[in-house]
């Protein structure tokens, strides 16, 4: 009876986890999904509490209470910006838990004088090895993100060698303990070695790549719980563990893609070779932030007001039709779209008008500079398509600039700016444009038409 109850709650929990995760992949359902997962967790815990092997609840109660007390502020206080390191740290905690459980299990059996079976030992080892690697790794990651530790890749001569040795050590001890589970010293040494390896693993990776690393470690800790599941024959651990393991892995791969870095490059590129952080450096040492179409698409999808600023680049790319399409999609999702046509955009008077008219964009969506400039403050996104000089703040700020005094479109006043151009080359006036280096600006590099087509497809998925 009691057993069926436990099992039932476990079954429900795992289903909730799966559904929750699924929803989490749809922006509009994400929150509900997360809540489902939380409920699932509740089921799992309650189910567990009915486990016959649990006889003494005092420590449990204490632990739970204390945990809540610590967890709540962690959840509510942390500033959004500190998100990544926060995630890393809480990951440390769950990994720690997994590891400790493993240790407790091992200790108990040894203490009881009945060393665990080989099979079980293997499981325990996995649990503990992955667990400790994660613990150590996440702490380092958090450090780098918070910049307690140098966020730049830390490398030293013979690094590969050292890593190799440590790794070998872990493996040997692993094997050894499986063969002879009674060798506690080897067991505990392996824990130490794993911790060291965890540090080694993360140290040489640049701060910019940390999110990927954290996601990956997440998948490790998932596998750790999974191993626990095997070890103590608990299904919910098994399922959610493997769920976590798989999703963590995919996620980390997706993330490195989104940062257009190859996954292996992030991880193993790490060893030895200095990895560059995403984003190109310029003469003045300013960096531009380049984004992928997915991100840009999302920004546009959830924007209330988008102001499109077409320029000569749109003409060169003959992207006018694609622009219309995109605008229509944004409007379909309830956003508003305005086209800001600068007096000298393009290469002839009315250049933009001709093209936008050809693409059948109604006149009443076109606004000239004076009409639209005041709207930028409330624009969520200024979408700059192959324009450059006409949005160059230098015309306002820099008396030395050849275009000083020319009125420009206030793209830089928008909440965020997305710039579509092929590279960093200058426009007609042949001058640098500081807008591209603004922290609210993201550059979507590539031929305008290609980028737009990309955006259009992404919008469909969002």
């Amino acid at each position: 009876m009691r057993d069926t109850f436990i099992q039932a709650s476990y079954v429900i929990a795992s289903i909730l986890f799966i559904l929750g995760l699924r929803m989490l992949t749809r922006p509009d359902k994400a929150r509900t999904g997360m809540q489902l997962a939380a409920v699932g967790m509740l089921f799992a815990v309650i189910g567990t509490l009915f486990n016959p092997t649990i006889v003494d609840f005092r420590w449990i109660i204490g632990g739970l209470v204390l945990g809540v007390v610590i967890g709540y502020p962690m959840g509510m206080r942390v500033p959004m910006t500190a998100m990544p390191q926060r995630i890393a740290l809480s990951l440390t905690l769950s990994a720690l838990a997994a590891t400790l459980v493993g240790i407790a299990e091992y200790y108990t059996e040894i203490a009881a004088g009945s060393p665990p079976s080989h099979m079980k030992m293997a499981a325990l080892n996995f649990e503990i090895m992955l667990g400790s690697i994660t613990v150590a790794g996440t702490i380092v990651a958090a450090g780098k993100l918070q910049e307690w530790i140098a966020s730049r890749p830390v490398t030293f001569k013979g690094q590969n060698l050292v890593n190799g040795v440590v790794f070998l050590g872990v493996v040997t001890l692993f094997a050894y303990t499986v063969v002879d589970p009674s060798q506690s010293w080897a067991f505990y040494t392996m824990i130490g070695a794993s911790l060291v390896f965890g540090v080694m693993l993360v140290m040489p990776i640049g701060g910019a790549d940390m999110p990927v690393v954290v996601a990956l470690l997440n998948s490790y800790s998932g596998l750790a719980s999974c191993a626990t599941g095997f070890a103590i024959g608990n299904v919910i651990l098994l399922i959610s563990g493997s769920l976590d393991g798989a999703s963590g892995l995919i996620l980390s791969i997706l993330m490195s893609k989104a940062m257009n870095r190859s996954f292996t490059n992030v991880l193993f590129g790490a060893f030895g070779s200095q990895t560059s952080t995403a984003g190109a450096k310029t003469a003045e040492g300013l960096t531009v932030r380049s984004v992928g179409v997915e991100d840009a698409a999302i920004q546009l999808a959830y924007a209330q007001l988008v102001i499109v600023i077409p320029g000569y680049g749109m003409a060169v790319a003959q992207a006018q039709h694609a622009v219309r399409e995109l605008a229509e999609m944004i409007e379909k999702r309830g956003g508003e779209v305005k086209f800001a046509v600068h007096p000298v955009a393009g290469r002839m008077p009315g250049h933009m008008n001709v093209l936008l008219a050809e693409a059948n964009i109604p006149y009443d969506k076109l606004f000239d500079m004076d009409e639209v400039n005041s709207d930028f403050d409330r624009a969520d996104v200024a979408l700059v398509i192959g324009a450059n000089d006409v949005v160059n703040p230098a015309a306002r700020n820099d008396p030395a600039s050849p275009i000083f005094g020319m009125p420009i479109l206030n793209a830089d006043r928008a909440k965020s700016v997305i710039v579509l151009k092929r590279g960093m080359s200058a426009g007609f006036a042949g001058i640098e444009n500081e807008l591209f280096y603004d922290k609210r600006t993201s550059m979507l590099f590539g031929d305008a038409k290609t980028s737009l087509t990309g955006l259009i497809n992404e919008m469909k998925n969002v």
């Binding site: 000298v344 009315g350 933009m352 001709v354």
Partner: protein, 369 residues
């Protein structure tokens, strides 16, 4: 069988009844013999050698072009002198101004010439390819807008320039038939903001199908459409309400092109002197219905006048000013008609035929209409 094409003699007529490509078709596909008078096509941009290489034989003068052919194809109605040169018993295919050309018709009957009036091609899908009204209206609609745009002191398209923002011109097309629709399309192409009006309900959807706005929906009504998609004359109060509607829409129009016609009657007057006075200085009216009296009260057919600072252009025979393509289309219409008429080398002039019958003005020496 031989068919001949004389040079048009009417003033301001630059077209020719058959363009070289049509000649070639007649010769290749229908094994006809074609005679073209020297220089007949020159003003339309067809040199004599083009006709020769198309397989036509050139006739030195009108006499040799008109005479000796069982079929004569012309654009404009024949002059008495021309009629005199056509063989008796021959068939003449040309525009005839039915109703306004009793004398000519009489002469033709007298000479026992069977004459087919191209204006009378029935409005049936099957006959559409023979319908010169359609083809020539197409030309008129296109050219009408060009004339207006050239006369207008404004840009049609919207332009945002370093020297300020040019707002697009407002174009109003009255009568959305073949010419009207073509005018709408052309004005839209040039970037104007186009609105249009017509009495036939079908016209509304057609106007919108070209991306233009339809004015005064409430006015159109089913009954307005007569056979063949033509419009019938309006009743007293329909007309009144129409004028009212046009009146308050026309005020802030920059370019107005009118194409409203009612077959066999004078064109409806849709723009009054007051309306003109109410318009902005510098605006332009092109009255394409001039041939049948014009849609604008002030229009002087064939002239361009300035009144109340408004330019009113009432051009005649507009298609002739796009002579090359107008002739090409005209010729193709005639080819299709001949395909229908000529069976194994013989012209079948069957008064009972749905198409031939409808076109016949004179036959067997009698005026049949």
């Amino acid at each position: 069988m031989r068919i001949s094409v004389p040079t048009e003699t009417a003033p301001r007529e630059q077209r020719v009844a058959l363009a070289p490509d049509s000649v070639a078709r007649l010769i290749k596909q229908q094994k006809l013999e074609v005679v073209v008078q020297r220089g007949a096509g020159l003003r339309a941009g067809f040199r004599d050698d083009a006709y020769e290489s198309a397989g036509a034989t050139l006739a030195a003068d009108a006499a040799s072009a008109l005479g000796g052919s069982p079929i004569v194809a012309k654009v404009q109605p024949p002059s008495p002198s021309e009629i005199a040169q056509i063989d008796t018993g021959a068939t003449l295919i040309s525009l005839m101004r039915p109703g306004q050309s009793a004398d000519i018709v009489a002469l033709l009957a007298g000479r026992n010439v069977t004459s087919l009036a191209l204006e009378l091609v029935p409005r049936i899908t099957r006959a559409q390819s023979m319908d010169v009204l359609s083809s020539q209206s197409t030309v008129a609609g296109y050219k009408g807008v060009l004339i207006g745009a050239s006369a207008l002191g404004k840009f049609l398209p919207m332009l945002t320039t370093a020297a300020g923002n040019i707002s697009p011109a407002k174009v109003f097309i009255i009568g959305a038939g073949v010419a009207g629709l073509q005018a709408i399309a052309t004005a839209r192409r040039l970037g104007g903001v186009v609105s249009a009006f017509d009495v036939r309900p079908a016209a509304r959807e057609q106007v919108q199908s070209l991306g233009a706005a339809f004015v005064a929906n409430e006015l159109v009504n089913e009954s307005a459409e007569a056979a063949g998609g033509y419009a019938r004359a309006q009743t007293q109060d329909e007309a009144a309400r129409t004028l009212a509607a046009i009146g308050n829409h026309i005020k802030d129009m920059d370019l107005v092109v009118t194409t409203a016609q009612i077959p066999g009657r004078a064109a409806p007057q849709l723009i009054t002197a007051e309306m003109v006075a109410s318009m902005r200085a510098g605006s332009v009216i092109v009255d394409l219905a001039a041939e049948t009296g014009g849609n604008c009260a002030l229009a002087k057919p064939g002239e361009t006048i300035q009144m109340h600072d408004v330019t009113i252009i009432a051009p005649l025979n507009v298609p002739s000013t796009v002579a090359f393509h107008a002739s090409q289309m005209f010729g193709r219409n005639i080819v299709e008609l001949l395909k229908h008429l000529v069976k194994d080398g013989q012209a079948q002039l069957d008064a009972a035929d749905e198409i031939t019958g409808a076109m016949m003005m004179t036959h067997d020496g009698k005026v049949v209409r």
